[in-house]
Symmetry: C2
Subunit: 109 residues, 2 copies
DNA sequence: AGGTTTCTTCTACGGAGTAAAACAAATAGG
DNA sequence: CCTATTTGTTTTACTCCGTAGAAGAAACCT
């Protein structure tokens, strides 16, 4: 389609929103809340890696934190390409929703 | 994902927009223009039929018109379910794009 | 009639989306 | 300590979506 899929868009936005706390499980929590439905682990990590492979995200590993179970995390951040893709899809969205005739009143077809 | 995919959303919006002229090839022309790229025939008809199967569109056949090559068309119209799905995805979209931190200025992390 | 145009149906395939198990590594607490 | 628990990532496998393109169908025109 040449445009971001919905999933990709939501993932990129989640990474953006979470800023310096954008790692796999945090993204999952964020989106699960937004969608009102628990997402599976794979539904997050797999497409996230695809976005990295396609150059829309960049990623790196951090040191472990000092919290219960806290271990090495893999963080994500938008690339310029990622931002551009978000802008493109937003514009698409806006044009697609413009000038919709009001339903119901089919006068004189 | 429980929400419309981008493709489904664009197809539903095209059907809505085209009103009583919403048939396969017209939808294709409309979307090709919106996307700035010629879509294949199958990229339109196949998902359209899926939307019918899932109850988001209803469809029926018309009589041929009196135009060169004009033949029987299969028209589409949104069902209430289809409208509801569009509303849902629009709200999702709006919440997903809200409260995004401005990039660049990572002050005092 | 034959060719052209408009439109739909069919088919086949690659890749996205998802669930779930397996794996890994840190901490807490007795 | 040393084991259970928590937090997190990687891997795998499967289903269904998205897409291209050929094939089929039926009208019109000259």
């Amino acid at each position: 389609m040449d445009y971001l899929s919905r999933t990709e868009e939501l993932l990129l936005l989640a990474v953006w929103k979470l800023q310096d706390e954008a790692y796999g499980l945090a993204v999952r929590r964020h989106l699960s809340k937004l969608l009102g439905k628990e997402m599976s682990v794979g539904a997050v990590y797999v497409p996230l890696e695809r976005l990295v492979r396609n150059g829309l995200l960049e990623t790196w590993e951090s040191e472990p934190t000092q919290k219960r179970g806290g271990r090495r995390k893999r963080f994500y951040r938008l690339t310029p390409q990622g931002m551009a893709a978000l802008n493109a899809v937003k514009q698409l969205q806006e044009s697609a929703w413009q000038n919709l005739p009001s339903l119901g009143l089919n006068l004189a077809s």
